[in-house]
Each structure stands twice: as structure tokens, then as C-alpha cells.
Amino acid sequence: MEKFENVSGVAAPMPLVNIDTDMIIPKQFLKTIKRSGLGANLFDEMRFTRDGAEIEDFVLNKPAYRKAEIIVAGENFGCGSSREHAPWALRDFGIKVVISTSYADIFYNNCFKNGILPVVLPKEAVDILMEDAERGENARITIDLDGQTVSATDGTEFKFEVDEFKKHCLMNGLDDIGLTMQKVKAIDSFEAEYAAKTPWA
């Protein structure tokens, strides 16, 4: 995984609440056995008509947001299916940060495994950033993961919380499995003890 670098750029406003993973990447694109190339179909049914033409008023089709690296979203972003194709599609499109008041658990975890930072902020802060994001190229939102801050264009700074371990992995581009493998002895001894206690399991 690539190391997460600080991001400063245009943010696409998506105020709709409960944006689900079916919206982020509809099921017809889950038929792949690869992780790559899903950005072309990110938000497919909101972004394109049935015959493939762009829907002009969808935010990522507007000139200002076509290269957005940040999404500011309504609450409960990423609810629904566990499909990791959702963060794969976001990342492949170029999204590195999502900002919202809340996320569905599985989606939230999946983001960290794919170099995406899901920032949680209180509603008042998200409202200000949403308004900022509405100003297109006239706005610039900055995310500093190390300092755990999001800054609006005018410099207003919002502090966010993030799990230390997740932050560490994201900043250093670490592979979870490699880290867990370092604890293989603990797993071995747990497994042996557990098997003795629960021979049926």
C-alpha cells in the first residue's frame, strides 16, 4: 500500500445521507476478479445514463470536481454491503479522503486497507466544509493526517480523531498481514490452548 500523504485540493460535496455501497459501485461491477480499474464505474448509476452518457449535474461530472481527491458526504456514508470494491473504486478514481459525520463500520475499515482516510467530524464542521466544497475550484480543503486536522479554505481548522494503529498503518503504507505475521507465536500458542479447551470447534 502507498503511504498516505497529506492532501490539499478541491472537495466534491455529496450532502445526501446514507450513500450506500450499491451507489458507490453497483453490483454489475463486482463480477471482476481484480481490484483495479473500478474508478471508471464509481457512482455509475448516478454518474451516467443507461447508454453511458454523463449526467451533467452529478457532482463528479462538473468541471470543477472531475479531479476531486476529497468527498464531503452526508451521514452514514458507505452503508450496506461489505464490498471492498467501494473503496477500490473511490481510490482508483483518485479519492484519498472522505469527510462525514459517520460511516458504516465495514466500509470505514475497508478504507484504511486501501489508502483512503475516512475523516469523522461533528455536524457543524461537516456543514462548514460542505459549504466550502460547494464553491468548487474557489475552495481548497487540506487534510493533515499526522496533525489530525482538516482546514477549510479560510484556514479554519478542525481536529479529528483517528485510531492510532490505523493512522500508523496508513501513514507508513503498512500491510496488516505482515504486521500480524510478526505475532504468529502469540497466535500459535492461543490456538493450541484454545483447541484443548474447545475440541469441537
Binding site: L16, K31, E84
Partner: protein
């Protein structure tokens, strides 16, 4: 004496293989279920890094999401190319890594969350994961079960553990008994109506109370299945006699002395008196009505005798979401839900594709006919459910009524395979999600119980099962 614990606390504590100073744990996994759609990239990751499956004997694979459900599906010519590729990848991965496997043509094949319990893989007190959000289903056995992403699938394959921090405890109590016509599906939808789709985020739910105890194992699976629609990663129910009876004698359930040992351990799987819950929701069983969704989020749910709401009935960001939902669903505020005409009925899915669901639907459909022009489909949850339904004569009732009688799979619940709604079609569905486009591009979904779906198939509109007969 140690502090009182919830069932979740107990299962969690029994599975922590390693705990870091910041509370990040490696949680040991007892059962890892795998299907064709969210696993190919994980196996590919193993291959690329030269890793193996740590515990192939605890890993079970079955294709379900993308399999055709039409008769004669074993003919590869009838299968779309992309389905064939995913199926071939699962075949290959199961063989290469030596994991348990139920291929498409095995009678035991079916939806992963139906196959797990049916084969006795899912047992009380276990940790169960799968690259599918409806893994919560297995919580019905008093196991800690939840969905994971593909990176986590790879992590579990390689290490048999999951990196986790503990969730909070939430209690959902359903007191009293359900009234006639009200089912497990109505319980679980009503809870989501109460909490919202984010109400359970960060929690593991324990469902309890008399109405839950009175449910069969099938009903309990239906309740836990939709915990995720309320935002909770996992939902669980304390095991009892019904649980033991269900498990006993299943192919992979413990036998002999191991069964006796297991039983002793399982009897400790209850929440201690005085254990702490961070959130408590209580509903009266007798207040729960046959329910139906009207919008495009599972929280958009009302009793069947209610009216389609108006955006003005809501607050904040939900106002625009409801406006969008109603537009998508083609509904006008104030319309009686029981006046909404449908053109499709889907009975099946990991929520309601078990034998009890089929029996309930058959009870309504016996001697009746599907309304003219309506498309109705029953997709059993597994090959064994299908065989049992045929043996019990249910399949004949469905076919006589005019239902299509399909092979097992996820089918129109997520519509990855050709079982889809066409643009503008409206479906009464026993599945679990009514998202935009879920059952087909611009398709419209109303989530209901199996008896409500069966009644709707006969009348051609959403129907109050209590007034149907």
C-alpha cells in the same frame, strides 16, 4: 468475582489471541465462510505474497452471489462469461488451498449464510466471518458473526485472526408475543425503523425478550441477518434448547463426548445479571405490525396500514433523501401503502430463504393463483431447502400458484445474475435491501415478510396479511 459480562463480552474474551497496549486485538476466527465475489482478490493476494491458508479446515467456500438460479444452470453455455470466470476462480482456489467446498452442482450448495448453519459449521460461542455483510445471520446461534472486506478475508485466510477493537454492547429487547401475521422479518424491520440505519453503528446487538425466545432458529436468523441494516456489525441471540436441537446431528456439529463438552460450554453463553449495555431499545411484541418499506433505505419502514409519508415529516438531511426516495419509488405522499400495486414478487435470500419461510409462503399460496401478468419467483436458500420443499409438497403449491421454482442462490436479492427487475418494475421482496438499483437499474423494492410477499403475489398489491384470507 469478575464483573458481569454480556454474551458478546464472553465470546470476545474467549477469542483474543493478542492484545496491544492501545486495545487493538487479534481476534481468533473459528469459521471463515467464503464466496465467489469477494474472495478472488484475497486468494490472489496470498498467491502473490507466497502465503497459504492457515486453517483450511475452518474455511468453507460456496458460490452463491453470482450463480444462475435457472434450471439447467450446470450447462456452462447458459452461464454468462463473468459468472463462469468467478466460479472457475473459486473452484481453483478451493482446490489449490485445500478448503471445504460445495460447488454449484452439489445439493448442499446455497447461500453461504444458509449453508453454514445447515451443515453445522455455525455453532454457539464461535467467531464467524465472511466477506459479506449479512454474516450477522449466524449470530442467531449465539455466535459472534460479522461481515468483513476482501483485505480482511485475506488477513483471516493467512492468519486465522482479524485485527479488531471491541465494539459497544447494545440490547434490543422484544417483550411479549407477536400477534398473528407478524413475523421475525417484521421484528427486525421494526427495530431498524426505530434505530435508523446508523443506530447500531459501533455496536454488537443482543436480541432478547420473550418474542425472540419464541422464534424458531429460522426466525432468529432472519432477525440477526438484518442487524447490519441497522448499522450493527453483528447481532446475536443467546443459545437455548432450540439452538441445541437445531445443531445436533448436523454434519459438522460435534458428536459423542465432544457434543457433551460443547453443551456444557454453550450453557454459559448468556448475559450475566447486571452486565452493562451502552444502549438499550425495547419494543413490545404486540405493538409490532406486518411491515413494509416505502423508500430506498431499510429505515424507511412502516406498518402496512400506514400511508406513504411526506418529506416534510422528516428533519435535516433526511428531507432531501426522502424527496429523492419518493421520486425514485414513484410514490405520492398520503397514498395508502396497501394500495401500491406491484408487478414482481421475490421470495428468497439469506433473510427469508429457509424452509420455514417457504412453508409460511406456501400456507398463504395453497390453492391460490398469482395475479395475471405478475412475475413471481421463489429461490430457495440452498439445494437442501429446495429438496425438502419438494418432499413436503411445497414446490407443487408454488408451481400450481404460478411461481417460478428456482435453484439456490442469492438471485434477485442483489441481482448480480440475470434475475433482475427491469426499469420501473416494482417488487414485493423478502430480501434485505431496498437501495436504489439494488434489484435492477431503476427497479423499485418493497421489503416484506414471506407471508406478505405471498399475499401480494395473489392480490397484485401490497397487502395486509391480517386482512387476507
Amino acid at each position: 468475582m469478575s464483573a458481569p459480562k454480556t454474551i458478546y463480552d464472553k465470546i470476545w474474551d474467549a477469542h483474543v489471541a493478542h492484545e496491544a497496549e492501545d486495545g487493538t486485538c487479534l481476534l481468533y476466527i473459528d469459521r471463515h465462510l467464503v464466496h465467489e465475489v469477494t474472495s478472488p482478490q484475497a486468494f490472489e493476494g496470498l498467491r502473490m505474497s507466497g502465503r497459504t491458508v492457515r486453517a483450511p479446515e475452518k474455511t468453507i467456500a460456496v458460490p452463491d452471489h453470482n450463480v444462475p438460479t435457472t434450471l439447467g444452470r450446470e450447462d456452462p453455455e447458459t452461464m454468462p462469461e463473468d459468472s463462469r470466470v468467478q466460479m472457475a476462480a473459486l473452484d481453483q482456489n478451493a482446490k489449490e488451498f485445500g478448503i471445504h467446498y460445495y460447488p454449484m452442482n452439489d445439493v448442499r450448495q446455497g447461500i453461504v449464510h444458509i449453508v453454514g448453519p445447515e451443515q453445522g459449521w455455525t455453532l454457539p460461542g464461535m467467531t464467524v466471518v465472511c466477506g459479506d455483510s449479512h454474516t450477522a445471520t449466524h449470530g442467531a446461534f449465539g455466535s459472534l458473526a460479522h461481515g468483513i472486506g476482501t483485505s480482511e478475508v485475506e488477513h483471516v485466510l493467512a492468519t486465522q485472526t482479524l485485527i479488531q477493537k471491541k465494539s459497544k454492547n447494545m440490547k434490543v429487547e422484544i417483550t411479549g408475543s407477536l400477534k398473528p401475521g407478524v413475523t421475525a422479518k417484521d421484528i427486525t424491520m421494526s427495530v431498524i425503523g426505530e434505530t435508523g440505519t446508523a443506530g447500531g453503528t459501533g455496536y454488537v446487538i443482543e436480541y432478547c425478550g420473550q418474542a425472540i425466545r419464541e422464534l424458531s432458529m429460522e426466525g432468529r436468523m432472519t432477525v440477526c441477518n438484518m442487524a447490519i441494516e441497522g448499522g450493527a456489525r453483528a447481532g446475536l441471540i443467546a443459545p437455548d434448547e432450540k439452538t441445541y436441537v437445531y445443531c445436533k446431528g448436523r454434519p459438522h456439529a460435534p458428536k459423542g463426548a465432544n457434543w457433551e463438552l460443547a453443551l456444557i460450554a454453550w450453557k454459559d453463553l448468556f448475559t450475566d445479571e447486571g452486565a452493562h449495555f451502552d444502549k438499550v431499545i425495547t419494543l413490545k411484541g404486540e405493538d409490532i405490525a406486518p411491515s413494509v418499506t416505502w423508500g430506498t433505505s431499510p429505515e424507511d419502514v412502516l406498518p402496512i396500514d400506514a400511508l406513504v409519508p411526506s418529506p416534510e415529516d422528516f428533519e435535516g438531511g433526511k428531507i432531501d433523501a426522502v424527496r429523492r426516495s419518493l421520486d425514485y419509488m414513484g410514490l405520492t405522499p398520503g397514498t395508502k401503502l396497501s394500495d401500491i400495486e406491484i408487478d414482481t414478487v421475490f421470495i428468497g435470500s439469506c433473510t427469508n430463504g429457509r424452509i420455514e419461510d417457504l412453508r409460511a409462503a406456501a400456507g398463504v399460496l395453497k390453492g391460490k393463483k398469482v395475479k395475471d401478468g405478475l412475475r413471481a419467483m421463489i429461490v430457495p436458500g440452498s439445494g437442501l431447502v429446495r429438496a425438502q420443499a419438494e418432499e413436503e409438497g411445497l414446490a407443487d403449491i408454488f408451481k400450481d400458484a404460478g411461481f417460478e421454482w428456482r435453484m439456490a442462490g442469492c438471485s434477485m436479492c442483489l441481482a448480480m445474475n440475470p434475475d433482475q427487475l427491469a426499469e420501473g418494475e416494482r417488487c414485493a421482496s423478502t430480501s434485505n435491501r431496498n437501495f436504489e438499483g439494488r434489484q435492477g437499474y431503476k427497479g423499485r423494492t418493497h421489503l416484506v415478510s414471506p407471508v406478505m410477499a405471498a399475499a401480494a403475489a395473489i392480490t397484485g398489491k401490497l397487502t395486509d396479511i391480517r386482512e387476507f384470507g
